[in-house]
Symmetry: C2
Subunit: 285 residues, 2 copies
């Protein structure tokens, strides 16, 4: 049991974790800190947090675990501001979609042993606490990326928290995490944003968007995600994202070549191979 959990950034992920942890009795007190007072009031009203911290030092004070659920690009600065005010043995964890560069920065800011990088693979394009739900993580994967410097008891505490809210926890090297997520999340987000942008920028874009069916809506759903969050993720994981884009362009070019050549057989084989591969998606779809 964690006596006091401080959540910095009470949006969809931070808020859902708070709701779930309270519902399951995994924490004593949950303190929330965030940029917008009205979000924090809503989080308290929804029963996600017990108490609002008015300042970062207040959020850090007496915390056993500090959980950063803020945009990836803000986390290192928050860790530096929080550190002097937190108990010396407090753990720091996060929920960022990029792990290697972020965990390195957090270790530098907080002290290596007590930092546990985490990434729950759950969420939606709705990112506010209004959309938070206690069952968001049930059956979803949560990847922990401890380093050789991480204290084993710190990993155990964070693992128990995520397992406690129903997630399937696995540990993985941070670089491997970033390479995998670049392929199945980061690059696909950029592709979805670019697809909407291309249509909207076209001469008859408005007419086309008005005639889009449910397929286009699904394909581009993640382009409804908060630009502020994805800007940070894409920049932090730039090398792997660009490698994933290179691979994607190669697959697209091969399929387009079959179209250009009018090669029906080659095109059908390529489409069928992709369709079959999609059947191997994780159960979390």
């Amino acid at each position: 049991m964690i006596e006091r959990l401080s959540i910095v950034g009470v949006g969809l992920i931070g808020g859902s974790l708070a709701l779930a942890a309270r519902e399951r009795g995994l924490v004593g007190e949950i303190v929330g800190y965030g940029r917008r007072r009205e979000t924090l009031e809503l989080a308290r009203k929804r029963g996600a947090i017990d108490r609002i911290a008015a300042t970062l030092p207040e959020a850090a004070a007496g915390a056993d675990v500090v959980l950063l659920a803020a945009p990836v690009g803000s986390c290192a600065a928050l860790a530096r501001e929080l550190r002097p005010h937190a108990p010396s043995n407090a753990l720091l964890t996060d929920v960022g979609s990029v792990k290697a560069p972020l965990v390195a920065e957090l270790e530098a800011a907080w002290g290596a042993g007590a930092v546990v990088g985490a990434h729950p693979i759950a969420g939606s394009e709705q990112t506010t606490v209004a959309a938070a739900r206690a069952d968001l993580f049930v059956g979803r994967r949560c990847i922990l990326t401890p380093t050789p410097r991480t204290r084993p008891d710190a990993v155990t505490t964070v693992r128990r928290l995520w397992e406690g809210v129903g997630a399937l926890v696995e540990e993985m090297d941070a670089e491997r995490h970033d390479a995998l997520l670049a392929r199945v999340s980061h690059a696909p987000h950029l592709i979805a944003y670019a697809l909407v942008d291309a249509v909207a920028s076209w001469t008859h874009g408005a007419e086309a968007l008005a005639r889009a069916g449910s397929g286009f809506a699904d394909t581009t759903r993640v382009a409804g995600s908060a630009p502020e969050l994805w800007r940070d993720v894409l920049l932090a994981n730039a090398p792997a994202v660009r490698e994933a884009l290179r691979e994607f362009r190669q697959s697209l070019a091969a399929m387009e070549a079959a179209i250009a050549a009018g090669d029906a057989a080659a095109l059908e084989v390529a489409l069928e191979r992709a369709r079959a591969a999609r059947g191997r998606l994780g159960g979390a779809s």
Copy 2:
């Protein structure tokens, strides 16, 4: 009221139209023809069709309207086979996702005045009659692409059929239809197929696919569609699809350039512009 409607290809679209037309009393008799006997038996069992035609001539015989709901690439040959056996004043219509080249072929095969190209923008990656539903077209657009040669009464008959099953019918030039659909449907399908293919082809593809979240599942949902159908659509509309891909690559390259330059402000502006544009999607999402 159509006395006898013959549906050639009783899958999701043909089957749903049949269910809806019967439920709403828009037709006297519905005759179904298809490649697979078991599909036709299921269509009859589900109440979509009254009678199974064992052969194409039998499907054509006595039909007031022949509706082709087969893969785009098969329609012209079917029209040629059906024509000699259909009443001379019978109408021919279709549901293909590509219109200009197909309608030209159908007019050549059937006689121009009695051909009405149609495209109901509805469906899913489920393409069999098992997934057919009478409400599939309610509130969805259906685009008709009459030519200067089409008889006005033929357009009226087909319009009444689609309006009768709840679709929002509009008429449009076939080339314009193909340009719009290349942007919001055909190219996005190819992009989704290519995205899955790129991940599956990557060294750690299986590991990555197993960790894909709901975002990737949505982005690539249409890559679960039947390759046989999309092969035909992509080949039939190749010039517009390739133009749409060119525009997409340009948007993607601009966003990647911002990532490569580490330009957070430019990247956020581009993502936000796309997010905002997505808000202008048709209500049919």
